[in-house]
């Protein structure tokens, strides 16, 4: 296990950070998004509308 850990060498850690970036990029691109899907608004992540029935009706005050 210890052999798999990155060392504390700054140069090696920079490589590790870049490798993480590459891995993230690959993971994201492996999960396509339909063309009509927009990002949430940057300021104020949109809250999803709840499907009916509204749970608030079962739990007064939760809305």
């Amino acid at each position: 296990m210890s052999d798999e850990r990155p060392s504390d060498d700054p140069e090696r850690l920079r490589e590790v950070a870049k490798e993480a970036l590459t891995a993230n990029r690959a993971a994201l691109r492996a999960r396509p998004v339909p063309i009509d899907v927009e990002p949430p608004t940057i300021f104020g992540v949109e809250q999803p509308r709840r499907p009916t029935p509204d749970p608030a009706s079962r739990h007064p005050g939760t809305a």
């Binding site: 296990m1 210890s2 850990r5 990155p6 504390d8 700054p10 850690l13 920079r14 590790v16 950070a17 870049k18 993480a20 970036l21 891995a23 993230n24 990029r25 993971a27 994201l28 691109r29 492996a30 999960r31 998004v33 899907v37 927009e38 990002p39 949430p40 940057i42 300021f43 104020g44 992540v45 949109e46 809250q47 999803p48 509308r49 709840r50 499907p51 749970p55 079962r58 739990h59 007064p60 005050g61 939760t62 809305a63």
Partner: protein, 489 residues
């Protein structure tokens, strides 16, 4: 130390809840000034033991306490915090006190105004006694060691050789050690939940947009949340009621308020709540030292609340890649001056420096891809919450790691990367998934691992379901005493 009943050695007062302290103040067993002075004494005497304190704000605390003692405002929920001391994570601005963001490049920073959350607590009569330690820049570039903090590694009140968790390290340790009755922390992805679980305290991550972040260090505009940590869910709700609400200074503030459910409604909600969980979270993915206590906690929780059925978070999302890309890109913009100007070299953790620099290389298309996946994730979570009201899983699947252990050195099976072993992940990625969807969560203790360290659960609901989360966990805490356990002095 004072010679009043509120002196440091009085463990009943030291670990008292907000209503217990409010009752003692009302009965004039001691004054708010005496309580503030004793709290500052305690923070000064013991804060260093846990590396939990960035600054004690004694002058301000005494001033606010005097105001509370003089107040003639009527009693009731609005006065629930009057005269009660607290600490705030050092990423929240407090006028006149240092606000270091836990990072050497900002060690001399003093901001001129209060963060909205701190201003609101002041209006509620609360007493700011300390700025509390945190991981530098809330761990924005990722960090490799618990020592990535200006105050040193956050030490766990249950075992000083274990980490308190991060990035709200001091906020959790100070409550867990009984230095303050409650605190404010913040979470981008796990920074309230992790230290709450490791230190055995209750922490509430609000819905994105419920609490203003004005005056808080930004790490990720679309992920950051401010929330309370305390001894009980009820106390978290009391603090949340004071700090939630709209704020023109924060464009993300939704304008929604928080009010706890009335007792009858809370009892009804607890009886009827549909809890979703996945057995493999504990059975397959919990670390050996935590497994038994977590399993017992889930079973105990199921006995007090509603019905339990299998339900899991939306599948097929690269949660880690999404979170890393979103806060990596936003953090690269936020800290561009620090990185481009070379100030980043003064940070303590080499991994943190490398991570912040790497953020500059995230492509706009990948950031937007991650953001568009968040839209899909929110829609899919809405479907999950059509079937169940809340999701229950482990707060963390392991107990606190050793203080000197690299955080990427957990052995296989320690609960860190369940996807890697090919087993179904269940709800184990609920921390990144819930943060990406802006969902509220409450973390609460449910027992102790075989190593004697706290373990806890988390309950996550749809947006703005905090009243339900607080009600259900309060019902659990009314019939259990895990949250009442205290570390040895």
């Amino acid at each position: 130390m004072t010679a009043t009943p509120v002196a440091n050695g009085n463990s009943e007062i030291r670990f008292a809840t907000i209503p217990e302290l409010a009752g003692a103040l009302r009965r004039r067993e001691f004054s708010a000034r005496e309580l503030a002075a004793a709290t500052c004494d305690l923070l000064e005497a013991e804060g260093g033991r846990y590396n939990a304190v960035a600054a004690v704000t004694r002058k301000r605390a005494l001033r606010e306490a005097d105001r509370a003692d003089r107040s003639s405002a009527p009693e009731g929920p609005e006065g629930a915090l009057r005269g009660i001391p607290y600490g705030a994570k050092d990423l929240l601005a407090a006028r006149g006190a240092p606000t270091t963001w836990g990072a050497p490049p900002y060690r001399d920073q003093v901001l001129s105004d209060d963060a909205t959350a701190i201003r609101r607590l002041g209006r509620a009569g609360a007493v700011l006694a300390a700025k509390l330690a945190m991981v530098e820049l809330a761990g924005g570039g990722s960090y490799r060691y618990p020592s990535a903090s200006l105050q040193g590694p956050g030490r766990n009140p249950w075992d000083l050789d274990r980490w308190s968790g991060g990035s709200s390290s001091g906020s959790a340790a100070a409550v867990g050690a009984g230095l303050v009755p409650y605190s404010l922390g913040s979470e981008t992805s796990g920074s309230i939940g992790t230290p709450a679980a490791f230190c055995g305290v209750t922490g509430l991550r609000p819905t994105y947009g419920l609490v203003s972040r004005h005056g808080a260090m930004a790490l990720s505009w679309t992920l950051d949340k401010i929330g309370p940590m305390a001894h009980t869910a009820e106390d978290c709700g009391t603090v949340l009621a004071a700090v939630a609400g709209g704020d023109r200074a924060d464009p993300s503030a939704s304008g929604r308020r928080f009010r706890p459910l009335a007792p009858d409604a809370a009892a009804d909600a607890t009886r009827r709540v549909r809890i979703g969980h996945a057995e493999e979270d504990v059975a397959e993915h919990a670390a050996p030292e935590a497994r038994s206590a977590l399993a017992a906690g889930v079973e105990e929780f199921g006995r007090i609340a509603g019905t339990m059925r299998r339900a899991t978070i939306p599948e097929g999302y690269p949660f880690g890649a999404m979170v890393g890309t979103v806060f990596g890109a936003e953090g690269a913009s936020i800290f561009s001056e620090l990185v481009d100007g070379g100030g980043v070299d003064a940070l303590l953790d080499e991994r943190q420096k490398a991570g912040l620099r790497a953020g500059n290389e995230i492509l706009a298309r990948d950031y937007l891809h991650a953001m568009r996946l968040r839209t899909l994730l929110q829609r899919d979570f809405a479907k999950v919450f059509h079937e169940v009201d809340v999701l229950l899983t482990a707060g963390r699947t392991s107990t606190a790691p050793q203080i000197d252990q690299p955080l990427d050195a957990r052995p296989p099976g320690a609960g860190s990367t369940p996807a890697a072993d090919g087993k179904p992940v269940g709800n184990t990625p609920l921390i990144p998934a819930g943060n990406l969807a802006g969902l509220p969560a409450i973390f609460f203790p449910c027992g102790f691992g075989t190593d004697g360290l706290p373990v806890g659960l988390q309950l996550v609901g749809p947006p703005f379901s905090e009243p339900l989360l607080v009600a259900v966990v309060s019902a659990y805490q009314a019939v259990t005493d895990h949250h009442r356990k205290r570390p040895a002095a």
